[in-house]
């Protein structure tokens, strides 16, 4: 899919809705002999690759499974420390699967708050009068589009750099929010959106936006 995720952030920077496209993340599995030719380190309850890139394994990738068994944070499936396992030559050869770590709910909340601050600073540091915050942020792998309503709600869409039609999608999401969240008598303002109709209509809007296709590289 060319649309990766959608975030709705309230005016205080809290995440009130989030959706991911669940595209399968690239994973690399490889059998290693002693000693390991990758440097691993513990970071935020995950074991990440700190140095060494080969066969699809990249710096920042996390250990996902050892010998086919999923790891649990920094522990193996049978309760041992992941970092100690490769240090023992008796455990070799060992098969390890690496992949980009999936964002946890807490991390998504943190990233939404971080974007809230970046949005405001982008406006403060503007060399022009009357500038808004960040409306589009571009990297080589994705583009982040942001639409802030007059009431301070931010609709954020992460899409492929070449995906077109995001502006109309953002306004459509605003319509859906107005119709199915604000008019819901059980919805408290600034609280997470748990409305089934909002979910359904958002997914329909995303399907329409997917068909808008892509245009040439760049821009």
């Amino acid at each position: 899919m060319a649309i990766f995720s959608v975030y709705v952030v309230n005016k205080a920077g809290g995440l009130i809705y989030q959706w991911d496209s669940y595209s399968p993340r690239a994973e690399a599995e490889k059998t290693f002999s002693y000693p390991l030719d990758l440097l691993l380190k513990l970071h935020d309850e995950r074991v990440l690759v700190a140095f060494g890139q080969r066969d699809g394994i990249r710096v920042g990738h996390a250990v996902l499974a050892i010998n086919g068994m999923d790891v649990n944070g920094k522990y193996t499936a049978d309760g041992k420390e992941v970092l100690e396992y490769p240090g023992n030559s008796a455990n070799y050869p060992v098969s390890i699967r690496f992949g980009r770590p999936r964002l946890t709910s807490n991390e998504k909340l943190m990233l939404a708050s971080m974007f809230h601050s970046l949005f405001a600073i982008g406006s403060q540091l503007s060399p022009e009068q009357g500038s808004s915050g960040i409306e589009m942020l571009e990297t080589d792998t994705f583009k982040l589009h942001c639409f802030q309503t007059l009431t301070g709600i931010k609709f954020v869409v992460l899409a492929d750099p070449r995906q077109a039609g995001i502006d109309s999608l953002l306004r459509k999401i605003y319509e859906i929010y107005s119709d199915f969240a604000l008019k819901n008598p059980f919805y408290s303002l600034e609280m997470p959106i748990r409305c089934e109709l909002f979910d359904q209509n958002l997914k329909l809007a995303l399907e329409v936006a997917e068909k808008a296709g892509t245009f040439g590289p760049g821009s």
Binding site: L118, G130, E135, L137
Partner: protein
């Protein structure tokens, strides 16, 4: 189209150089605080995009735009950051920022034994060369400013 201003940071966050051409609004804080705020914002954006990206990135953060300006970003492997604010109509200028680094900063600052690294650039030659280069860019025009 126009160029508003340019920042040059080293890997430790020191603002090596700042130039201004068509800036209409100041940030309302002292210049030193503005440099720190800008560097902090760029640092946060870099960690933000590395976590957000669904795929492995190569170049990382390229640019962002608001309703009134566009910020372009280029970072060298040694951690030198070239940041340029322009009008919205300017397309990707990664090669321009790379040229500022390789043909101006490296030639007139790194190769200058009187310019200590890690401190603000005092070279008048670098300043004048940078100014004339930016003014010669096709998207630099005072009309839109």
């Amino acid at each position: 189209m126009t160029v508003h201003n340019l920042y040059l940071f080293d890997r430790n966050g020191v603002c090596l150089h700042y130039s201004e051409w068509h800036r209409k609004k100041q940030a309302g804080i002292p210049k030193e605080e503005e440099y720190k705020l800008m560097y902090g914002m760029l640092f946060s954006i870099r960690s933000f995009v590395s976590k957000m990206s669904p795929l492995d990135m190569k170049d990382g953060f390229l640019s962002f735009q608001t309703s009134r300006y566009k910020l372009h970003y280029y970072e060298t492997p040694t951690g030198i950051k070239v940041v340029m604010n322009t009008d919205l109509g300017v397309g990707p200028i990664r090669d321009v920022l790379h040229h500022i680094y390789s043909a101006l900063y490296v030639e007139f600052v790194v190769k200058n034994p009187l310019c200590p690294l890690g401190q603000t650039v005092q070279s008048e030659l670098f300043r004048s060369r940078l100014d004339s280069y930016v003014r010669s860019l096709p998207f630099f025009s005072a009309r839109a400013g």
